[in-house]
């Protein structure tokens, strides 16, 4: 073979070797795209499961709050209601009754106001907002406004995760592969040259895109892993709120027991009356202590909303 002809042949052979690598990379890229897609889909499933568990925990807390609300309502109607009735009877019969038993006019009005509010909540039961109102009563008592029933919002706007579907579509590979390949190969094909080198170059480009897709999938997976862990943290906090609710409910029932022991309708017995007022005052205060802090019992920067109750605002990450 003459020397000038040898150079292009050597070049051709070298190109062929590199070209074969390119073609192989193109085939490998398909596998990488599939891997990326699997990673993305598996992460998506994990996120959905974590969200489902969190929703269940939130519902459990909601039910506990409703149960506590029902207990509080009953105590307002029964024990505080009883106290108000007896006090009204005493006031109508004995001059200076309130002063004698250590009760101010404002306090008596506040007791009456609570009984009226409780009756109002009780009357509104059966409506669509009943569960929400009851949960609000459980969370905050009659003090403060209990917000209108909301539909409940899950973990809000986790950056990156919101774009899940777009990411997955992107990771699907089809359109990306076609697009990437098209641009690279286009100039060669349009130039009327052989498709061989174009295919090899397309293989390298496709392999690059597959590497990027793998990184995207890994980034998404990492965000999901972190978000799932944070959701577990929120579930722990919700479990803590549940324990707190149970504790408050138990304390209220213990106090009710004592109130029932000492309650009297003998308005002439100042000491017994004063003791019942003392116990009623404490009971009323207990009923109005919020279980959920108005400022929020949220962890990290996740925001939780308990439907029918009130937003628990999050705070900045510690």
């Amino acid at each position: 073979m003459p020397f000038p002809l040898l150079i292009p042949v050597v070049l051709g052979l070298a190109s062929a070797a590199l070209g074969a690598t390119g073609v192989k990379k193109g085939f490998d890229a398909k596998k990488d795209f599939e891997r990326a897609k699997d990673v993305g889909e598996s992460a998506q499933n994990k996120y959905s499961r974590a969200q489902h568990h969190l929703d269940q925990a939130r519902e459990t807390t909601q039910h506990h709050l409703e149960a506590l609300g029902a207990v509080k309502l009953r105590v307002f109607e029964d024990q505080i209601g009883y106290l108000v009735n007896v006090l009204k009877k005493g006031r109508s019969k004995i001059s200076g009754f309130e002063t004698e038993i250590g009760l101010t006019q404002e306090e008596l009005r506040a007791f009456e106001g609570d009984v009226l509010k409780a009756a109002h909540v009780s009357m509104s039961l059966g409506g669509s907002a009943a569960a929400g109102a009851m949960a609000g009563m459980g969370a905050f008592g009659l003090v403060g406004s209990f917000a209108a029933a909301s539909t409940g919002t899950a973990i809000a706007s986790l950056s990156g995760v919101a774009a899940t579907n777009a990411t997955l579509a992107w990771l699907g590979g089809g359109s990306l592969a076609a697009g990437g390949m098209g641009m690279a190969a286009g100039t060669w094909v349009l130039g009327g040259v052989v498709a061989g080198p174009a295919l090899a170059i397309g293989g390298f480009m496709l392999a690059s895109k597959a590497e990027e897709a793998l990184t995207e999938a890994r980034a998404y997976q990492a965000k999901v892993e972190v978000a799932s862990e944070e959701m577990k943290g929120v579930r722990d906090v919700l479990a803590g709120i549940d324990r707190n609710i149970e504790e408050v409910q138990h304390t209220i029932s213990q106090m009710v027991e004592r109130f029932e022991q000492i309650k009297t309708d003998d308005v002439t017995n100042e000491q017994a009356m004063a003791r019942m007022v003392q116990m009623g005052r404490a009971l009323r205060e207990l009923l109005n202590i919020p279980v959920i802090d108005a400022e929020g019992a949220a962890v990290r920067d996740l925001h939780i909303r308990i439907s029918g109750a009130r937003e628990i605002a999050g705070r900045e990450a510690a």
Binding site: A20, S208, Q261, I289, A318
Partner: protein, 145 residues
């Protein structure tokens, strides 16, 4: 046809085409070779970059998850101890209340009621979260749990 077989067949056909084309057109052979080298180099750079990015992502993930788990563990322990302590406190306060009622001791009754209200008012969750915050605060030297 399997993927490997397809790749081999395609590579074989490609080699033949390239060698033939190179022999008939040296200029094209050089252009094709340069383009292939460029594409190969570009791919290697991208691959290295993406591998580095994935290593960074893995490191970020580990750091975040470790921190979250540590916080969760603190909250968990804190709540366990706090609720146990509160149960004990409530029990003592109700005992005091019962004794006050039995003996007609208004001061004991009031002390017990105040204690019950104050204990209820303290939020174990808020305290647990404060403990987590304190752990992130380098100026806090010790935390009692």
């Amino acid at each position: 046809m399997s993927k490997q077989l397809a790749a081999k067949t395609l590579s074989g056909a490609l080699s033949g085409t390239l060698v033939k084309t190179a022999a008939s057109s040296p200029a094209f052979a050089l252009q094709a070779f340069n383009s292939l080298v460029e594409a190969h180099n570009s791919y290697r750079v991208v691959r290295e970059q993406e591998i580095t990015k994935r290593q960074q992502i893995a490191a970020w993930e580990t750091t975040q998850i470790t921190a979250i788990r540590e916080q969760a563990s603190i909250i968990h322990d804190y709540l366990d101890k706090s609720f146990a302590e509160r149960r004990e406190n409530f029990s003592q306060l109700f005992t005091l209340l019962d004794k006050g009622i039995e003996s007609g001791n208004d001061q004991a009754i009031q002390a017990a009621l105040t204690g019950i209200i104050e204990t209820t008012r303290q939020s174990p969750l808020r305290e647990a979260l404060a403990a987590v915050r304190a752990i992130s605060d380098p100026s806090v030297k010790s935390i009692d749990i």
